[in-house]
Structures are given as C-alpha cells and as structure tokens.
Amino acid sequence: MPTLEKPLTQHLRTDGTPLDLDAYEQAGGYQGLRKALQMSPAEVTETVKRAGLRGRGGAGFPTGVKWSLVPMGAGAPHPKYLVANADEMEPGAFKDRRLLEGNPHQLIEGMIIAAYAIEADVAYIFLRWAYRQAQEALSRAIAEATERGYLGREILGSGHGLKMILHVSAGRYICGEETALLNALEGKRANPRAKPPYPQTVGLWGKPTVVNNVETLCNIPHILKNGADWFKGLSRTKDGGTKLYGASGKVKRPGLWELPMGTPAREILEEHAGGMRDGLRFRAAIPGGASTEFITDAQLDVPMDFDALRTVGSRLGTGTMIILDDQTCPVGLLWNLEQFFAQESCGWCTPCWSGLSWVEQVLGAMERGEGEEKDLEILREQTKFMAPGNTFCALAPGAMEPLASGLNYFCDDFKRHIDEKRCPWRMNGDTLR
C-alpha cells in the first residue's frame, strides 16, 4: 500500500498565495537540482525513466524516454529548447493552475533539471492568457531564481546555463497541442505540424525541443531529491507517482486532490468529492477533461491510471473528472462540448473543421426538438470519419471520444429527444439562447 505523501501539493497554502524563494527553500526546494548537478545529464534522464513517470498532459508518454530522444553531446545542434506546456484550455481541466499559482518555484526547479538533462539553453513557459495570478507568480519567481543563481549563465557554478522566458499566449485551445504550440511561440498561426520529424529533433526554429506538461515537470525535483524507488512507491500501479485528480459538476465538494496514481474513480467521487448533491444520482463521468470517453457506474472501480482506463474504453487524460448527474441532459452536455471543439478547430483539415460544425449543429437541432431519426446515424458516421489517423492532429479524435461513448450510453435519451420533439430536461420553459 502506498504512503499518503503529497509531494506536489503539500506546501500549497490554503489562501492560495505562492511560496516565495525562501519559503520554497525551507521546504526542501532546489535540493533536487543540487543533486542533479552532481550527476551527468544521462544519469538524470535514467533516473526519471526508472521512476516510471508518464507525461501528465494527457497522452501519458514516458518522460525519460522523451528526453532520451534529444540529440546530445558536442555534435548536437544548439540552441536546444525546453517548453513547459501551461496552456490548460481543456474544458473541465483545472489542475496545472493550482501548481502554477501556488508553487511557481517547483515548476521552475523541474524545468532547470529537465533543461540540464537535455542540455537545453533556453526554456519557455507557454502560459494561457487567462491565468493572470499565475503570470504574476511566475514572473516574480523567475526573477528571484535568477537573482539567487539558479538561472542565468552559470547555474550554481556548474558551467551549465539556462535562460527562462515566460510567454503569455493569446488564447486558442489548439495551442496546447505540442507542435501547434511551437508555431504559436514562433509568432505564427497555431496550426499543428506534421510528425515526424518529432520536436525532440526538429522543434522550435528547427532546433531540438522538448515539450512537457506543468504537472509532469513539477514531479521532477521530487524524483531527483528522493529517488526513483521512492517515486514508484507513491503509486498504486506500475506508473509511478501521485496524480492530481479533480471533480467538477453537481457533487457535494467539487475540488482537486493529490492522490496515489491509480486511485479508483469511485473513491475519488465518494470520499473526496463527497458523493452527489442531495436529490441527485450519478449518471456518468468524463474522467479526464472534455476529450475522453464517458465511464458509468459499472466502471467506477477501475483505477484511474493510463492503462486501466484504456481497458474500459476510456482515457486518463488530465485526470479531472466531469460528473454528469441524472437531472442534467446528456445531449445538451454533448452539444456544449462539441460547440467548444467546433469553435476551437484550427481549420487546417477538412474532416475536422466541417465535420465538427456539422456534429455541433445536429446536436443543437436535437436539443431544440428538431432532431430526426437519421441524425443518430450521421453522428455515428462522423465519429468514424474523425477517428484517430483520419485527421491531422488529435483535436478531432478527442472531440469524438465523449460523443461516441455518449451515443452508446445515452441512446434512449437521444431517442426521447427525437420522439418527443423536445428536450425532456427543458420542460419548464428554459430557453436555449
């Protein structure tokens, strides 16, 4: 049984004010960096590999493996780049925000270590526009870290330097996709790039670049400080560490909790979120932000980790659950999700930009009571047209995950909309616009 340590969040203050450098150091901060600097870059990467850390940005790619794809040594192209992905625009996801606002030095330390491991010269934090508090906290923390010699030409006299820059985005969901993010940083429209080549070899301005999620990077100082075995021991499954899990919707206590990786959804829902509000029943959950498949009561005992959720046809994604109750219309919810995806499609490829707006309109018509029998077939077809591999990036397949599973689970609710020519949940004269 794992211990109940919470390395990522243990020092977050309840009033939300960020830890300054002194407070962070007192809490053991920058010890991981000091240790890393005693090791070779390859040893740092090896430690992260052994720890079993998988990326927390959604796809779950092993972090150490990603780093080891970067060309190293005297022959490697420079400058090399590290980017912290702090875009977090996925609806229903709100985990990185807490780390950015509450403990900016934890991210900065993780980034310095990651940059050391891949011999990067410049690091960018790609921050979403709406996170004003995080912007302030990060600017101050970068200045503090520079002043104390953790950043700059010579990090703690190691002979290794790092320049860190905060880039505040102008807002568009696709910017979170790692190759689109690179275009955004270069001052272009954020259309995704073709892969391969992967950013690890050809990234920002054609140079090797690693993009990692904020939560991923925040784990790094603790892995270096406490070791790979300690990190593995935090987890209930083979993927190491803890995970930030969240729940929003009509539960008694919506919130965010750091728990052992692999904590079952039911435990999160009932113990941490306090169960459903009085008078409401649990219907389904989207486990990891807007682009994951629904799970129902039958799957609630599945551990929330990368592999286990796969076995029940869903995905961990961001680990922040959106809870659907029995008095909220599933068709309306899906319409809301698909409106988001249709609006945020970057327009680069046809199946996505025309498919998503079609899906959105069909769902809207159903919700208004104008749905027809053939609409269900159209929606099912679209989930196939936008399946993985049929579009240029993962936005459209992601948009289809809740829809495809929703068409399965809520078949009767769709049918009622069509047969009754109205939304059964909007009977009291609720307006749509």
Binding site: G92, F94, R97, W129, G187, K188, A190, S248, P254, D430
Partner: protein, 154 residues
Amino acid sequence: MLSPEEKKEIEAEFTHYPTKQAVCIDAMKVVQKHRGWVSDEALRDVAALLDMAPDELDGIATFYNRIYRRPVGRHVILLCDSVSCWIMGYERIRGALMERLGIRLGQTTADHRFTFLPNVCLGACDRAPVMMVNEDLHLDLKTEKIEKILEEYS
C-alpha cells in the same frame, strides 16, 4: 503611430526570441494593453516594426481569441461557456447578464461600459459557474450576485 512607450515595451521583447516575428503576439498585446484593441492602423505600425506584411500579421491576429480587432468597452466580461459551467447553470447566468446589461453576447453597452463575451473554460471548473471581468475572476456565480459584482465596475 506607436507611442514611444509602446515601442519600448515591444522592443524589450526582442531579447526573448531569435526572430522579430516571434514577438508579434506580445507586440499586439502591448498595443491592446494601451488602447484596448488593435486598430488597422496600429496593426500596420506593428507589422512595420517587425518587418512583417500587414496581411500576414492580420492573419495571426484573427487566429487568436484574445486579440481584439474591434473596440471594446471599458470593462470586458468573459463568461465561461464550457462544460462544467454549463452543468452548474451557465445558461441562467448568461440570461441574467443579458437582461441586466441589455445586450447579447458579443455586444458592447451603449455607454461603452461593458463588453460581454463568451469564453472557453477559465480553469476554475470546481468553482463553476465562473466569469472574468477584466483581470478579476468571479467564482460560484449566482444570478442574485450579478448586480453586486457589476457595481464594482463603473
């Protein structure tokens, strides 16, 4: 013409990126900070400073949600219309705001006091429904709270 201050702030960004073009989003945000929005004229001036074609810069400006190419009111209200806020009563809050402001989403009040815009998830889903007015986040919105919140902005 860009003001000397705007120019200085934009040029300070040059050290952060290896190309001038990479500064373009920051540059438009500098202009927007000073003027509220990015006019055609300002866009041309920024493009000239960055050695870009105005059309190219416009293509980038219109891609991003938070670059305003039309004037906005003194206070911008961004109401989250994403999934958790929708579950928690977004439509009621939207209705209350439309009624109170006398405008629809996308519009500006006649006195230029408020511009009312939809916005995707603001990353505070556990405190839904949520809106931002200028820099301030307002959490756990209830229709009864709207009047009092708007009073803070004259």
